[in-house]
Amino acid sequence: MLGRTIAAFTLGMTVALPAIAADAPTEIKIGTLYASSGRYASISMPVHSGLKLWIEQKNAEGGVYVKAFDKKIPIKLVAYDDQSNTATASSLYNQLITQDKVDILVADSGSVLTAPAVAIARDHKMFLFNQTGTGASFFSKDNPYIALMADPVSTIWPKPIADFLIHDGPALGIKKVAILYSTNEFTGTQATAVRKFIKDSGAPLEIVYDQGIPTETTNYTVMINNIRKTQPDAVIHLGYAPNDIALLRNIGEVGVKFKMLFSIYAGLETELLEKNVGAKGLEHVFTYVPPTDLDYPVNFGMTMAQYRAAWNKTYPDGKVEFGFNAVAGYTTALVIEKSLSVATSLDQLELHRAVFSLSGELKTLDGTFGLDEMGGQIGELTPLGQIALKDGHLKFVEIYPHDANNSKPVYPRP
């Protein structure tokens, strides 16, 4: 009986293995878009470069391990340049799905260039690896074809800032808060979240200035003077990198010193801001401490130090800044790699299952990967920090939450 069983098993394996090998594709096609020019190039190119770096690395190792075929399979990247044009992006996403027939669909960076992909991916039943599109309108319980890879959803991202103001602010003498934000989905949602956290807390904080302005704003002189008149103890600026650059430059020109100034991109794209504002202009600015400075323990992929070394080796010219977005692109790649290593087929709903199975388990250089039920990223909240200038170099000092606390904040700004 045992002999017969072994014989049947052997025969079965003999028949099945070649069948698996024959079914395995010669390459895994990853389709994505990037913006080499236009308004979103500065956030798109680092993300794209991170993804490309991983693909080159995996192909040099013989490909990515795909559990569905129990072998390593080389990756073919199909990438189109949408030039920050949303109409172009929509037809290119469709091209990736209908003509190139990619196995894995990865969105461009940012909500505006991710938006055209959401309905198309869902219509074609393609799972969308949404890299940094935090738009709340993308996620719904009835759409299983999307998940956010790297950024926390904007509704919870600014919680550490609000918590700092609520819990530590009164002791530091922070009573009046000014909020200035750019009216786009990314920063508008963060402003709404900060406002809500503060109001719901019942903390003795008064929002004395709350103003949304067009994202295209390049001169903040009037706003700076208006904010100064309200004598705030803390100024929270929520804008894109160009907004932060313009604001910080104008603050330097006007000669105002707010007691506390928060800016998103001082931390997320420090190299870019330092180039444009100078190290002195960033000193004492409060910001998100980027993963590049946190060195999260990893259970998959390179550590931050290894990734930075690989980045510098691959992109030695420094044309694309190494920062938060560079990490986001590589994080997406790691989620893809890990998903392929657990998915039992390349069916898109199986990919969905595989991605969601990583929630809370996968720890990358971007922190813990965690998803809510709709696919929003909730894994790692970026701590609040403050930039210090030491020996001419910028350094992040972690401020909040306290378990990650390195030092007390410099408040008020000298």
Binding site: A87, Y93, N94, A115, P116, V118, G188, A191
Partner: protein
């Protein structure tokens, strides 16, 4: 009638059949949208001489007209597209005083007006109505097939308007106004009325196109539907083919948007170089558009 049969009908038949043989329907849809927008530019620029750099304002307003009608009034998508057209016309009426300006002054004022509409729609204070900067999701009405069919109907309407302008005394009067408004007025043409009608017709088709686009795309932000790229592309395509004709903008869209996508799909790294050189060559050697190749030889171009 001849133009309808020989130009408009084949164009519509081709775009109605193409989805059966080419799967990237969204690309075909974008072709149709740009055909509508280029012809919309043709109506206002080709026949009156007003260059609408802010043409996207009507398109975006139409898209948000569609979205608001669907979100707040739970109207059907076809009804919302009609509302989108009405919103385009209403905005056109509101902005009609701009027609007092001319040349670069009109172009700049029109662009500023489009930006103003964008920031009005994206204002967080209007979140309850427009969803402000946070974007809309209209997945309930999402139906690519019907949206494509609706785009073809809007294209048919737009082409009908252009054919009418090309063949009617009204269109002739408009061109007279474009060439010399004082002489046209002396000849009994109501200059203001003529211009406003052309302006509103142009706004109507852009509003309808915006509505259909919102129907197809279904998830978008203000920046998506008010992107100045729509204005620039529509103007470039119309000029490339040749304005004040029926076929010029069609040739412009098919050739230039075709090349645009061909380069984008095959050699995206050389995109700007090739596309930029192509436009430079045309501006230098064919400033009146591709149709001027024929008109220079004395051939009549419809």
């Amino acid at each position: 009638m001849r133009h309808l049969l020989l130009i408009v009908l084949p164009l519509l038949v081709i775009f109605a059949l193409l989805p059966g043989v080419y799967q990237n329907h969204l690309l075909l849809f974008n072709f149709v949208i740009f055909l509508v927008l280029a012809q919309g530019v043709n109506i206002i620029y080709g026949f009156t001489g007003y260059l609408p750099f802010g043409y996207v304002g009507f398109f975006g307003a139409g898209a948000y007209g569609f979205a608001i009608t669907v979100m707040h009034y739970h109207a059907s998508a076809p009804m919302a597209v009609l509302v989108a057209g009405a919103v385009g016309v209403a905005l056109g009426l509101f902005l009609s005083p701009l027609l007092r300006l001319s040349g670069a002054y009109f172009a700049i004022a029109n662009m500023a007006a489009a930006l103003a509409v964008l920031h009005f729609v994206a204002n967080p204070a209007l979140e309850d109505i427009t969803r402000g900067p946070y974007g809309v999701s209209l997945t309930g009405t999402f139906n690519p097939t019907l949206a494509y069919a609706a785009a073809l109907i809007v294209l048919a309407l737009t082409m009908g308007i252009v054919v009418f302008l090309k063949n009617s005394s009204f269109g002739l009067a408009l061109q007279a106004v474009r060439e010399d408004p004082v002489s046209a007025s002396m000849a009994g043409v109501n200059v203001v009325r003529m211009r406003v009608i052309a302006w509103l017709a142009s706004a109507l088709v852009a509003g309808l196109a915006g509505g259909v686009y919102a129907w197809y795309v279904s998830v978008f932000f203000p920046d998506n539907v008010f992107s100045s790229d729509f204005s620039i592309f529509a103007i470039v395509f119309a000029l490339f083919g040749g304005v004040a004709t029926i076929t010029g903008p069609i040739i412009g869209v098919v050739a230039l948007y075709g090349v645009y996508n061909l380069i984008g799909f095959t050699t995206p790294q050389y995109f700007q170089l090739i596309y930029g050189l192509l436009i430079m060559v045309l501006v230098l050697f064919l400033p009146a558009g591709l149709v001027s190749l024929a008109t220079r030889r004395g051939w009549r171009v419809p």
